[in-house]
Structure formats: C-alpha cells, structure tokens
Amino acid sequence: MSGTGKTVKCLVWDLDHTVWDGVLLEDGQVTLRPGVADAIRTLDERGILHSIASRNDHAAAMARLEELGLAEYFLHPQINWGAKSASVRSVAEALNIGLDAVAFIDDQPFERDEVAFELPQVRCLDAAELPALTRMPELMPRFATEDSRRRREMYRADQVRKDAEERFDGAQDEFLARLDMRFEIAPAGESDLQRAEELTVRTNQLNTTGVTYSYEELDAFRTSDRHLLLTAALTDRYGPYGTIGLALVETGEEDWHLRLLLMSCRVMSRGVGTVLINHVKRRARDAGARLIADFVPTDRNRMMLVSFRFNGFEEISREDGLVRFAADLSSIPPDPAYLDVLAG
C-alpha cells in the first residue's frame, strides 16, 4: 500500500464487484462478497468511517445496501456517473479530513489509476486485497476508544448540525448561541490516555507542533508533577462531540511551557480552541508564571498560528522550524457568552 503510513480515517468503497458480486444494473439481487460485511463492521468499531464512490444509480444502490443491512455504515455516499476522484474528494471535504487519511478500494485497475493520478495522497486498494484488509497496519489504529466506537454516530450528529447551520438564516455567532454548548476541561485521567494518543495521531490541522505522543509518554506526563495534561470535551444540543482537545503544559517555577495544543477539526468553527488557550493562560497567571508556547509550522496548521497571534501571543524566537511565543497574561479575555465552560 502506498501513502504516508498515517492511519486511514475513511475507507471509500466501490460497489460493483467490490462490495457485492456482479453488477447491480444487471442483477437487482446482487449478493455481498464474502467478508465484506465483517470487514465493514470491524473497521467501523475501530472508528474508521466508510463511504462510497460508485458509478451507479443512487436510489437503486442505496435501496440494495439498505436490504443488505449496510446502508447505515456509509457516510456521504457518492453514487453518480462522475469521475471517482471527484467522488473521493467530495467525501474528504464532507468529512473535513485530509486526502492522506482516505483509502479507496475498487476492483478496476482503471478506477484505481484514475484516483491515484488525480489524488496521489489517497491510498488505493485492489478489491482482491479484501481478505487482508482488516490486518493492514494503516487500518489498525492502536486503540479502539469510546470515541472511536462512536465516531460514525458523532459524524452523523455533525451532519444534522451542519444542515441546521446551513438552513439557519442569521450570523454565525447567533447560531453558536443556539447550540447550548458545554465545554469541559479536566486533567487527563488514565482512561483518557488512549483517546489522547489517538488525538495526537489523528489531528493535523489544528495541531501546534505535530508531535505525536505514545500512550506511555502521555501517562508519564499525566502522573508527573511538573506537567499538566488537560483534555477538553464538547457537548451541544445535538449530542456529544467527544474528547476533542488536548493541552500539554510543562509547569516550571518561572515558565509554563505549552508543548502541545490540539483541537479536533470537527470543532473548528466553535471557538473552543481560544477557550482552552485562555484557560491555560489563567492557570499560568495564577501560578505566577510566564506562559511560553511552542509552534512548529506545517503546511496544514496555519490556523493554530492564527490562534496564537490573535490571542495575545508574541513571537520571541524562531529557529530550526520551531517558533516560540510568549503570552500576554495581563489581560485575558472572558470566555464567550455562547458556551458554558466547566473546568475541573
């Protein structure tokens, strides 16, 4: 399998000769290829999402998937007569994930080549590889956490939220005020570590340094009295987003050092990154320390640079791709009125 070795977040399936044997338009009663249903369920439990890129009649294909008991597993299925690369791209955009976190499985070399040519970041798999699918390292996240088991459900809730947001006739901050958001910040417990590790591995865009930490490293930070490891969870009227933020702070006598701050891209438009930053700022101020933050620019995380620069951080040094910011702790803005913050 080509690609970067990163964990796949979504597997996009062809239908004819890949999910089922035969061609739906020729045989309305096509049956599943052996192992497909198990593979889909196994990957779903690991938190890997499924979607579809198929040249077929949308209504007929969805009806057959419904009969086969698999329709609910597929998010944003793209069943149309267009190029599969366009379909795969639409899926990634709808889920707000990078193309390098997408895999595509199809029996036709032509389709795989077309996707690989247009979208070289996407991992293309031959349908013949199905028996080995669930053992591929890219499809084996180290842990299946509570959040990963519920990921599909959470993405579905996101879809409902997004539809509501699109229908909402007003400014974005008015919509946010109607969500009844509750943002909970707490020191990471042992049971949070798997999700914390998963977040460092999965989060690329809203990640200040791109450093990934193992379970063991995070556990050492959690129990260290010179570190603060915070997790953040968000809930709104549509349901939980799960644990969506992480902050790692080295708490020295004079300097507190924000080594890592990350937020899931699902909460990009909720303004909660700033809330977590301000929480850390207040704690540093109360401890009588300065707050220094690390930032490693990548081609994906400019938004975190914006988060620092528009939240009272001044650049103090820059070398070897590492930027350091110091926070102004003299005036820390209050949390926005549109959400409740609970800090434990």
């Binding site: 400014a171 974005q172 901050d173 909720r270 303004g271 620019p297 938004m303 914006v306 528009f310 209050p334």
Partner: protein, 83 residues
C-alpha cells in the same frame, strides 16, 4: 477604499450579528475571536481583496476592524509595485 470597506463589512456580517457594525468597531472586543472566523477573514483578504497575508502580517491590528482591514490592504498595495 469604499469598495474594500463595503465588501469587508458584508463578509463580516455573515459571522457577527451586529448589523450596525461601524467601520471603526473592534471585532475582537466582543470575545468573538473564533479562530475559524479570523482564518476566514484572512482568506477573504487574500482571495477576494487580492492581498497576500504573510505570517508576520497576522496581527490583530491588521484585522481589528473594517477600517483596519482597508488600511492594511492599502498599505500592502502601496508596498507592491503594480504588475
């Protein structure tokens, strides 16, 4: 300058409810410092106002108000020789 201001006002209106926004009003005073909003404002300046924003331009003072955005765009245009 007026065209830039009215385009900026219209863009901001999609995000912030205050319809009576004055050109000098501080967007960040209300606590509405949503990073996505800021990022979208930056992208708006880059694509719609055709003004590249370098990392060192990412300063609140350049984006604080409609006036500030217009002044920033004018300053950048003056610094760049016409192609």
């Amino acid at each position: 300058m007026d065209a830039i201001k009215s385009a900026t006002r219209e863009f901001i209106g999609k995000y912030v409810r205050n319809r009576e926004l004055a050109d000098s009003d501080d967007l960040f005073a209300s606590g509405f410092v949503n990073s996505l909003f800021v990022m979208q404002l930056v992208m708006f300046v880059e694509s719609e106002l055709a003004t590249p924003v370098a990392d060192e331009d990412l300063q609140m003072d350049n984006f604080r108000s409609v006036d500030a955005v217009a002044a920033f765009v004018a300053r950048k245009a003056a610094a760049t020789p016409a192609a």
